[in-house]
């Protein structure tokens, strides 16, 4: 396959004559999962290695475990700005989102409303309940006019779910505005906010102001995988999905994942301490990365229209004439781990429902790349990305 050999040489040349593969690993997929912070791992270890207690028991070791998760509960309550009594620990963001929609709808009648760019963990339960899925603007945010109309015209709306930050694009939604609109036009309805991608970057009490339910998950802000939260404001009635021992005030049965919950609590404390500094540092790196890529690869554009508010951690780009899968493959060969849209359970890249809802042209969407940064990201990571990505992208687009 001399074509391929030439092609490979071309790829190598495009990287500035580098003949040997770099050993550098650059992780730019933090929106998929961020590594736990060292302090978090340290806090978790004793609860993995030493303490056997089940928090539902009555003896001393059980009480120790109970105290540990309740300390975490306090930390999470402070992070979210809701009462500790309303913090329900779950296995993660998906369970929290599912519990919010299915738990609020319960067995009674009632309509759930969300918009088309929500995470599938919200979209699917809303669709399954024959709920209303609203259109979005070019930034992927809920269409407030359509929401007002729906709130005025549809009877028995029980839940409105709105994500604080989109997981693919990093776009920030006007949650507080949605909440006040719901309070005014459909005062009986509960507002749920999927704040999974917001926790690391935005002050949640102000971002999710007016929301009655908030979902977060540990591994998006320096905590471990396997622990999430649905936080409730006051006594919102919630039908449990998991039944049994009645843990989490009958809202989520099952022995709590103590080590992960301890880690989640520690991550909540840490993110409140240094969120602002991290956000400023990461924003500067993201902006440099984004500007560098836009300037060096012709036909590249930012997927999110200018002026639309985003978190500092994500740049979402579309490369003209490039196939995402090919781009990701070659980036990985150069040590860069990133993603395009979301992956399905087979590991294949799926076409993005978010970009489709935003009206991004199919061909542009096929060449999308999401680079997401977080607390461990360094300037050297950005340097490496800027030295590698333009050459590969140009090479792939030239080949089409």
């Amino acid at each position: 396959m001399s074509v391929a050999a030439k092609r490979w040489a071309q790829v190598r040349r495009s990287l500035g004559g580098v003949e040997e593969r770099s050993d550098r690993q650059v992780y730019l997929d933090h929106a998929a999962s961020t590594p736990p912070r060292p302090e978090v791992v340290e806090a978790m270890l004793p609860w993995l290695a030493e303490h056997p207690g089940n928090p539902s028991g009555s003896h001393r070791l059980a009480r120790d475990a109970r105290r540990a998760i309740d300390d975490a509960r306090d930390a999470v309550a402070a992070l979210v700005g809701l009462d500790a009594g309303g913090v329900v620990f779950t296995s993660g963001g998906t369970e929290a989102d599912n519990l919010a929609v299915d738990g609020v709808l319960g067995a009674d009648s009632g309509v759930a409303v969300c918009c088309s760019t929500e995470h599938v963990a919200v979209l699917e339960p809303v669709r399954d309940s024959d709920g209303v899925v609203l259109s979005v603007d070019a930034g992927g945010r809920i269409d407030l006019g359509a929401l007002a109309e729906t709130l005025d015209s549809v009877a028995d709306i029980k839940l409105v779910s709105v994500m604080a930050v989109n997981n693919e694009t990093g776009v920030i939604s006007p949650v507080a505005e949605v909440a006040s609109m719901v309070a005014e036009r459909a005062p009986g309805a509960v507002v749920h906010c999927d704040a999974v991608q917001a926790a690391a970057w935005l002050d949640l009490p102000s971002t999710c102001q007016g929301a009655h339910l908030v979902s977060i998950t540990g591994h998006k802000f320096g905590g471990p995988k396997g622990a999430g939260v649905l936080a409730l404001d006051g006594n919102i009635p919630l039908s449990p999905m998991l039944r049994g021992g009645g843990q989490e005030r009958e809202r989520r049965s099952g022995t709590q994942n103590v080590p992960a919950i301890v880690g989640l609590g520690r991550a909540a404390e840490l993110v409140m301490e240094d969120r602002k500094d991290t956000a400023d540092r990461v924003a500067a790196m993201r902006d440099r990365l984004e500007a560098g890529l836009l300037a060096s690869v012709p036909g590249t554009r930012c997927t999110v229209p200018e002026g639309v508010e985003r978190i500092p951690a994500v740049t979402h780009l579309c490369f003209e004439g490039v196939e995402s899968e090919a781009l990701l493959y070659l980036l990985e060969q150069e040590g860069i781990c990133a993603s395009a849209a979301s992956s399905c359970s087979s590991g294949a890249q799926e076409s993005s429902h978010v970009l489709a809802a935003m009206g991004v042209d199919r061909e542009m969407a096929a060449g999308s790349l999401r680079l997401s940064l977080a607390w461990p990201t360094t300037e050297e990571d950005v340097d490496h990305a800027l030295s590698v990505i333009p050459g590969i992208a140009r090479c792939l687009s030239a080949g089409t």
Partner: protein, 363 residues
């Protein structure tokens, strides 16, 4: 001479791994030769499936085999092209009363086109699949697909569209082995797919289809199925079918035929008038079959050839040529002995001995 024998320097090889035993062993064989191997599984179908190359469990099998071999594994989503080039034409063919061959179209448009182009754009030197067929070089230096060592498993028929450009960079290592040896090898290597059953034909339709249920349901969701009349040679109605789109030439059952002791077969299907014509076995035999869209391994061929008209059909001798009696772009297969009618849309593949010369579609 097998092309694989020419491999010398370390090459970058992409192995298409379906999650079945053949491609698992293919990956193992290539890896043993010391080349730089990457396994790739295609995600082709988002719908329900329980066989073939599409389901998540098959991807898992491929991934775990790659893990066991210590090679990288990637999943590429080509479901959009699969839908466009395989599923939609499959449905349209049925709607038009034709008999499609989705595996052929998948090979033509997906595995040996889009995947091959992907491999090239990523800098791979060679593509390997687990097909039971061989790539051989003939005396003039060009290459051909040849029948597999294991005649019962030979898949050369579904690879008839491969031309020199593809053959130049393709290796089919398991085509040199019997299926039994492939399974033995997989067992020796401890591969989890060693005893996995062979996949059945249409990978995007569930197994209920094999009795007609799944295929029927699949089509019913996509096209209106039309009830039709069954007539004999004189035009007299002798039965009814509830979906003419489901009737295949040569079919004998499911047409609710009244009376008569001699078996009758569908000899023509006309979806525009929703009519199936039936007749005795003798009516199924023809002297000639027109074909269109011929593609060749190297140069166009006319003259005496062996012709195979189904995946595991018996090759028959015929004379192939362009004739004024057929339409522009068509060729005529003149059978040496009367041959069973070939359902329109089926692949008609031309061989010289064990070598594939090319193929076309029955008109």
């Amino acid at each position: 001479m097998p092309v694989g024998g020419h491999l010398m320097a370390t090459r970058r090889v992409m192995v298409a791994m379906s999650g079945g035993v053949d491609s698992s062993v293919a990956a193992a064989l290539v890896q043993e030769t010391g080349h730089d191997v990457v396994g790739v599984t295609l995600r082709l179908w988002g719908g329900e499936s329980d066989s073939g190359c599409c389901s998540v469990s098959d991807v898992d099998d491929a991934r775990r085999v790659a893990d066991a071999l210590g090679i990288d594994h990637h999943v590429f989503n080509m479901s959009d092209d699969f839908n466009r080039h395989v599923v939609e034409p499959y449905v349209a063919d049925h709607a038009a009363g034709r008999t499609p061959n989705p595996c052929v179209e998948c090979n033509r448009h997906i595995k040996f086109d889009r995947l091959l182009r992907r491999a090239q754009s990523l800098g791979f030197d060679r593509l390997v699949t687990g097909h039971h067929a061989r790539v051989v070089e003939i005396s003039d230096g060009t290459r051909r697909i040849a029948r597999a060592v294991d005649p019962g498993k030979d898949q050369s028929y579904v690879l008839h569209m491969l031309d020199q450009e593809v053959l130049a960079c393709l290796d089919l290592p398991v085509g040199e082995m019997s299926k039994e040896d492939v399974r033995k090898r997989a067992k020796t290597l401890g591969l989890r797919t060693a005893n996995k059953p062979d996949s059945q034909d249409v990978c995007f339709i569930t197994s209920a289809s094999r009795g007609g249920g799944g295929r029927r349901e699949f089509l019913r969701r996509r096209i209106p199925l039309t009830a039709g009349r069954v007539v004999d040679g004189s035009g007299a109605e002798v039965g009814r079918v509830d979906a003419v789109e489901m009737v295949t030439l040569g079919q004998r059952k499911g047409m609710d035929l009244a009376g008569g002791n001699t078996p009758r077969y569908a000899t023509a299907v006309d979806t525009t008038t929703a009519t199936v014509t039936v007749g005795p076995a003798a009516d199924l035999f023809v002297d000639t079959t027109p074909v269109s869209g011929a593609g060749w391994a190297n140069r166009p061929v006319e003259g005496r050839v062996l012709v195979q008209t189904s995946a595991h059909g018996k090759p028959a001798s015929a004379f192939l040529q362009v004739e004024s009696s057929v339409e522009e772009g068509q060729m005529l297969v003149r059978w040496d002995e009367p041959h069973r009618k070939v359902a329109p849309g089926q692949s008609v593949v031309f061989y010289q001995g064990t070598l594939v010369l090319g193929g076309a579609l029955a008109c």
